[in-house]
């Protein structure tokens, strides 16, 4: 009996990924980069405080600063690495001419896509897990609780899932890995920038009406941007006092002080953010699943669970 969680694509890629020194070297390099950047920021911060004559005895504040810095660096690294990992999963199978062979087997399209996505996200997950010791340093300073870190990591996983599904989607759409990778980066860049610019503009227009609306208004376009969600999450975790350093978004979100109504509106912004991202990611994966088999009439059965006797 085949176990439902056993995915041949995932199993095989885990085996080859873990072979040799490359993965270990990548993880080490990743942690090195994070540690280095964190160190630089930390140093600048301490020096700035020393110059301003502020005493550094507030351990909690230091802990919080280190945490925020690490959180943002890790987020940026995930955005940077995930497209490269995922944007070639299907197109490279096409380039190696192995996709047809896979499509001839008993694996469903959904299993192939999920196996591909998970095996490429597996690496990101490994990096995230490897960074846990780094984050737990923050706990020594205080100011941040264990569950804050847990929630942040959940947020990372959803972000990687979202970005990864964009990569997978393009890799099914484009025949060449290079094209797919470039388009994924461009998409992420533009989604990040355009959504913020447009969303901010819409909010500004909304709140500058002469009638001075006091309702709870966040344009939908901001929900698709994990950067905004992260800003919201971090400012919540920092107790609201670090809203301003995260720019105009933090300011605008901070401005929405009115009591929201309804269960959906009462949810924190970042929760809705990861909800929306997950839904979009799932949709992209469904489209990818549907499109890898050229034989559309046969696509009707892709979701059927199959077991071997």
């Amino acid at each position: 009996m085949k176990k439902w969680y056993y995915n041949p694509v995932l199993a095989s890629s885990l085996k080859t990924r873990m072979r040799g020194w490359r993965t270990a070297a990548s993880v080490t390099a990743y942690l090195g980069v994070m540690l280095f950047i964190a160190y630089i920021f930390f140093k600048i911060y301490i020096e700035a405080q020393a110059i301003n004559g502020i005493s550094v005895n507030a351990n909690q504040s230091v802990g919080l600063q280190v945490y925020l810095t690490l959180a943002i660096i890790q987020f940026a690294l995930i955005l940077l690495i995930t497209p490269a990992q995922t944007a070639g999963v299907v197109s490279s199978e096409r380039e190696m001419q192995t996709l047809d062979l896979l499509l001839c087997t008993k694996m469903s399209s959904a299993a192939i896509i999920m196996g591909k996505l998970l095996s490429s996200l597996g690496f990101i997950l490994l990096l995230i897990i490897a960074s846990i010791p780094l984050f737990s340093l923050v706990l020594l300073f205080g100011g941040i609780a264990l569950e804050d870190i847990a929630i942040l990591f959940l947020f990372y996983i959803v972000t990687a899932f979202g970005v990864g599904s964009i990569g997978v989607f393009y890799s099914t759409l484009f025949k060449r890995t290079v094209v797919s990778t470039v388009v994924t980066y461009v998409t992420i860049f533009f989604l990040g920038i355009v959504s913020v610019v447009l969303g901010t503009y819409m909010m500004a227009m909304h709140y500058s009406q002469p009638s001075q609306p006091a309702d709870y208004y966040i344009p939908f376009i901001l929900y698709i941007n994990p950067g905004v969600g992260l800003a919201d999450l971090l400012s919540t975790q920092a107790g609201g006092q670090y809203v301003l350093p995260y720019g105009i978004i933090g300011l605008l979100i901070g401005q929405v002080g009115n009591i929201p109504q309804g269960w959906f509106q009462q949810l924190p912004f970042w929760v809705k953010n990861i909800g929306v991202i997950s839904i979009i990611a799932t949709l992209l994966l469904v489209i990818s699943t549907w499109s890898i088999r050229p034989n559309k009439r046969m696509g009707a059965r892709i979701w059927k669970v199959r077991r071997s006797g």
Partner: protein
Amino acid sequence: MLIIRDLVKRYGNFTAVDHLNMHVQRGQIFGFIGPNGAGKTTTMKIIATLLAPTSGQVMVDGVELQKDPIKIREKIGYMPDFFGVYDNLKVMEYLDFYGSAYGIEYRQRRRIAEDLLELVDLRDKKDAYVDTLSRGMKQRLCLARCLIHNPELLILDEPASGMDPRARAEIKGILKELKRMGKTILISSHILAELSEICDCVGIIDRGRMVVQGSVDHIVRRMEGEAVVRLKVLRDVDRAVKLLKEQPMVTGIVQEEQFLEVTCKGNDEELWKLLRTLVNSEIPVISFNKAEGNLEHIFMEVTSDEEMVL
């Protein structure tokens, strides 16, 4: 085992497969012959459920392709006209991977893989990386791969192309062994010579249409109405060609320096008359022999008339 009825595949306006009919019986090796671009790969991809046909019906072992493609995938082993190997896998892992993709349980697929490596003579390469294998070895590994789930019908797309004679002979040996094991094999090629020996049946496809189909003997007999004569003249080649063209029984001439390949209707009596005409006209014929009707020649005849000078 395999029945194809009125299969049509169009790419836009272009018809790659045009009302193709084919019948492959269980246990047969069926040679699917045609020049490049005839539609062999397209037909095979349709059978392998990788392409949707525009219209028509494909049945494998009584299962209709459109109705249950998953069942079809279990029944067939498809070997495309390229290798398709992951270069970061070892030979054993490669087979193991496809075994797992077919849902075969670990211990069982290990055992099958061992047997298959034995069959394709790659046992001592079991722990070698796939990309270190030679072309012939890769080809045999791919053959082993499409056998991993013990399919009844093998679809092999030009397995002999680009192989050296030795690798070809090895593949042929394996195919004979597979036939003995009761597999049905559909094998394509654009070169006939190598297939005529192992095939029970051949179908010749040209521009998407099945031109002729049947046992090798049957086709030879059908073609026997046309005899092919190779002759060599000492000089006066042009005059010889001119004279031959005037003969009613001559249907085609291919000239290559002093050598002439003449296709003509009729029996041996007619051939003798032809030779007499040449000699009577003082054409210095120094050799004249009737070619046995091998498949390659028939193939030339049915599929390419451009090369004939007439």
